[in-house]
């Protein structure tokens, strides 16, 4: 066990914390595998899961997804692209988006909560879930939502969430009450400390706005009347959007939520006006957009052979059939003549707005496609859903091989 400890010690900062903690043996195994840079067992395991996803026609397809996601999270402690976790979560969600029977299944809720953690704006996700009715009967949902509010400093809303949970009769009730109590304790502690600060700093109250004094690794607190708290974005397992980070350096204002809020002195509270829970068409975006651009035309620059103004600009011939006379003072003819006429402003033409492929749009187009079934101009004559239903694609032979293996296993089972 001593060697295992070493690996853990050496890569602590690379391991994303899990709420429930990590299984230590799995962690050691995962870390040691990465040390050896051998991933064939991981590869095989993943292939097995992918195959199971496609072949499973049992009563409970969610089970396979659930196990697959749990395995991925344990095996790839850093998260990140290699684990494919965000793709996996998204696929799992869309796969069961219409299946009401899973809406209050704790495993499905678990997947949603993990997905929300990967999103830049979890509150959006929670609102969507509420509007759809996903997880509204489970305490874990309200707990997670309220924790999100708490993280942003909105204690009032955090408390509201628990009330909401009690109102909806979320189960298990005791857990909800327990977490509520601890929230209340935290809130009261916070209020006490704020009051204490205020008392001690009344002399300094002359200045209206002061630059926040930063305590290392502590919460940023303001001095003065404003009770706003800047959001601290320590890198956890959330994808942080850059604008948030920038806000930290700016003087504080009551900007905790994405919607713009104008501070009104007359209004005591600064509960942000939440967007009404409209019927959501689709899920909010989940990825860091700059990493997910579709390959698109970079510019629509065209290299004209002749300029529009009558001057002939020709590309240098590759093999001139005469010896070009070169004066010594001339530059060697390796520089290609500028083919871009500066008055023809082709280079700086507006870049085509590339269609942002967010999961929101993907789900929308998926639903649209389902509605438009039969009206498509082209139809693929193969089982597209089966090939692409997991996190990675499969080919026909892989599908068939998996069926064969299943059949073989059943036969073996029945023989023995």
């Amino acid at each position: 066990m001593a060697e295992g400890d070493v690996e853990w010690e050496l890569s602590k900062e690379n391991i994303q914390p899990l709420r429930r903690g990590r299984d230590i043996s799995a962690l050691h195994q995962a870390l040691s595998l990465q040390q050896e840079a051998s991933n064939s067992t991981v590869c095989q395991h993943r292939q097995a899961f992918e195959a199971e996803l496609r072949v499973n026609d049992g009563e409970d397809p969610l089970d396979v997804w659930d196990r697959y996601i749990k395995w991925t999270v344990q095996t790839f402690p850093q998260g990140g692209k290699e684990s494919n976790i965000s793709v996996l979560l998204e696929r799992a969600i869309t796969r069961f988006a219409e299946e009401k029977k899973y809406y209050n299944d704790s495993r499905y809720l678990d997947i949603w909560l993990k997905f929300a953690e990967h999103c830049p704006d979890p509150l959006d996700i929670f609102r969507y879930m509420q509007s759809k009715g996903i997880g509204v009967l489970l305490s874990a949902f309200y707990i997670a939502w309220s924790e999100e509010y708490e993280r942003m400093g909105n204690y009032k809303k955090a408390d509201c969430m628990y009330q909401e949970g009690f109102k909806c009769g979320a189960e298990p009730r005791e857990k909800l009450m327990q977490f509520h109590r601890s929230l209340q304790a935290r809130v009261s502690r916070h209020v006490m400390s704020a009051i204490a600060d205020q008392d001690s700093s009344e002399e300094d109250d002359a200045m209206e706005i002061e630059e926040p004094q930063r305590i290392t690794l502590g919460e940023l607190k303001t001095r003065g009347k404003k009770k706003a708290v800047a959001p601290i974005n320590r890198t956890g397992n959330r994808v942080i959007k850059n604008p948030r980070g920038l806000q930290m350096n700016a003087p504080l204002g009551p900007v905790q939520n994405s919607c713009l809020m104008v501070f009104d002195e007359n209004k005591a509270s600064f509960v942000p006006q939440e967007p009404k829970p409209e019927s959501w068409m689709a899920l909010p975006s989940s990825r860091a957009k700059e990493n997910e651009q579709r390959p698109d035309k970079w510019t629509n620059i065209k290299m004209p052979q002749k300029s529009r103004f009558g001057q002939v600009i020709r590309a240098p011939p590759s093999r001139p059939n005469f010896q070009p006379f070169v004066e010594e003072c001339d530059l060697p003819p390796t520089m290609t003549p500028c083919k871009i006429n500066p008055s023809v402003n082709l280079v700086l033409s507006a870049r085509k707005l590339c269609r942002e492929e967010t999961p929101l749009k993907r789900l929308q187009s998926h639903q649209q496609q389902q509605r438009d079934e039969g009206r498509a101009p082209e139809q693929s004559m193969y089982c597209k859903e089966l090939l692409f239903s997991g996190a990675t694609e499969f080919c026909f032979e892989e599908l068939r091989a998996e069926r064969f293996r299943q059949k073989y296993r059943n036969r073996e089972g029945s023989d023995s």
């Binding site: 064939s40 590869c43 095989q44 292939q47 026609d57 039969g374 009206r375 498509a376 101009p377 082209e378 139809q379 693929s380 004559m381 193969y382 089982c383 089966l386 090939l387 990675t392 694609e393 080919c395 026909f396 032979e397 892989e398 599908l399 068939r400 091989a401 069926r403 064969f404 293996r405 059949k407």
Partner: protein
């Protein structure tokens, strides 16, 4: 060769391809069937190399077996031998001297079958099913190249249990082709890697896929000096890309074309798009043949960029094809390719269809006026029998 006459090109018994009134979709080309077919879908076909006199055809199937037939000059086939694996056979190839056959299977092993002694021994082991197998004959070495779903490409000296070399690929190998000194491997997630085999195999270049959909099959073509110069890549959505490795003008020389689609002209009904299951190049003329899930095969001329011929539609997808060493015979197998998974398929018996004897039909090829085509074809009927069909092309001297 005036056996079949030169003037009228349609049929010996009035049963021409184009004049046929009865639509026999089981064998529309009216070809001779191969006897003793495998019991399940054919996954791969390979003809013997020129060093072996006569024509021998090897076919691997999903019934875990590999069969060998001798194709005689009169077109009749004689089953010769068979070997078994413990899993479906995915690919086969011949050694250059024609004495050995290499077979790759889902049971993660590859075997070397010595035809003279009819013994097979294991020569390779992977962590996942082996999808492709090719024989490489270089001046300073010779080995077997296996590509597998465990994302590795391994090279085996048949005498040693350990690979001579193992190359890591970004994704699972879906198809490959080798023409010394070039090898091309197409992987999952639209990956495409070219290897050079001189001295020792090494990765030459990774190419951005010219196709938008999953890669399904690849075949290398040669230039007029008989050197490999590019490859044809087929996808699961009815398209083939012709790609040259070092063309003078990439934008113009490389192109893709649509194939294996139905309802082309009819704009009201949706166009059905089928997978391209295999591509083969004619060894002499350089024309290519593609076979697809729609149950048709087509011949194309990539230099003239035209379609030469499309067959009638068979009732089942065509899964594999190959030309013999001099291009006289074209073999193709019609069997289910799992493009539309239907759970009841293949595990319940379906009444066996009549295997009609099949007449030979000859017809003139549009482009090469001196060609005569005969076809015989292979059809599979849901697990009970799979006759092998092949077509015989004889060149008029």
């Amino acid at each position: 060769m005036s056996l079949f006459g030169t003037s009228s090109s349609f049929g010996t018994g009035g049963t021409g391809v184009f004049g046929s009134t009865t639509t026999d979709s089981h064998n529309p080309m009216k070809d001779v069937e191969v006897t003793s077919p495998p019991d399940d879908s054919i996954s791969c076909l390979a003809f013997s190399p020129p060093s072996l006199p006569g024509n021998f055809l090897i076919g691997g199937s999903w019934a875990n077996d590999v069969r060998c037939w001798e194709v005689q000059d009169n077109g009749q086939t004689v089953p010769k031998a068979q070997q078994m694996h413990t899993g479906p056979v995915l690919d086969v190839c011949w050694s250059d001297d024609g004495s050995k056959v290499f077979t790759a299977s889902c049971d993660k092993t590859a075997k070397m079958w010595d035809l003279n002694s009819n013994q097979a021994m294991q020569i390779a082991q992977h962590d996942g099913p082996i999808r492709t197998i090719h024989w490489i004959k270089a001046p300073n070495y010779s080995c077997v190249m296996t590509g597998s779903w465990d994302k590795t490409l391994k090279f085996w000296d048949t005498r040693s249990p350990n690979p001579m070399m193992s190359l890591q690929m970004p994704e699972r190998c879906y198809c490959a082709d080798v023409v010394y000194p070039m090898a091309v491997v197409a992987t999952a997630e639209r990956g495409l890697i070219v290897y050079q085999l001189e001295n020792q195999p090494s990765e030459f270049r990774r190419i951005d896929s010219p196709l938008k959909h999953q890669h399904r099959c690849v075949a290398i073509f040669k230039d007029k000096q008989n050197k490999p110069t590019g490859f044809a890549l087929g996808s699961i959505e009815g398209r083939v890309a012709i790609h040259y490795i070092n063309p003078p003008n990439p934008a113009k020389d490389n192109f893709t074309f649509k194939c294996h689609r139905s309802n082309g002209t009819n704009t009201t009904t949706p166009q059905d798009i089928y997978a391209v299951n295999a591509i083969a190049f004619h060894p002499v003329h350089g024309t290519l043949a593609t076979v697809g899930s729609d149950g048709r095969f087509s011949f194309w001329d990539k230099d003239a960029r035209t379609k030469l011929k499309t067959s009638e539609q068979l009732d089942q997808p065509i899964t594999a094809c190959c030309f013999n060493h001099n291009g006289n015979i074209f073999a193709y197998s019609s069997s289910y390719d799992w493009s539309k998974v239907e759970r009841h398929l293949a595990w319940r018996g379906v009444p066996c269809m009549d295997q009609s004897g099949g007449h030979r039909v000859l017809w003139m090829h549009m482009f090469y006026w001196s060609f005569f085509f005969y076809y015989t074809w292979l059809s599979w009927d849901y697990g009970l029998r799979s006759p092998v069909l092949f077509s015989v092309i004889t060149c008029c001297s």
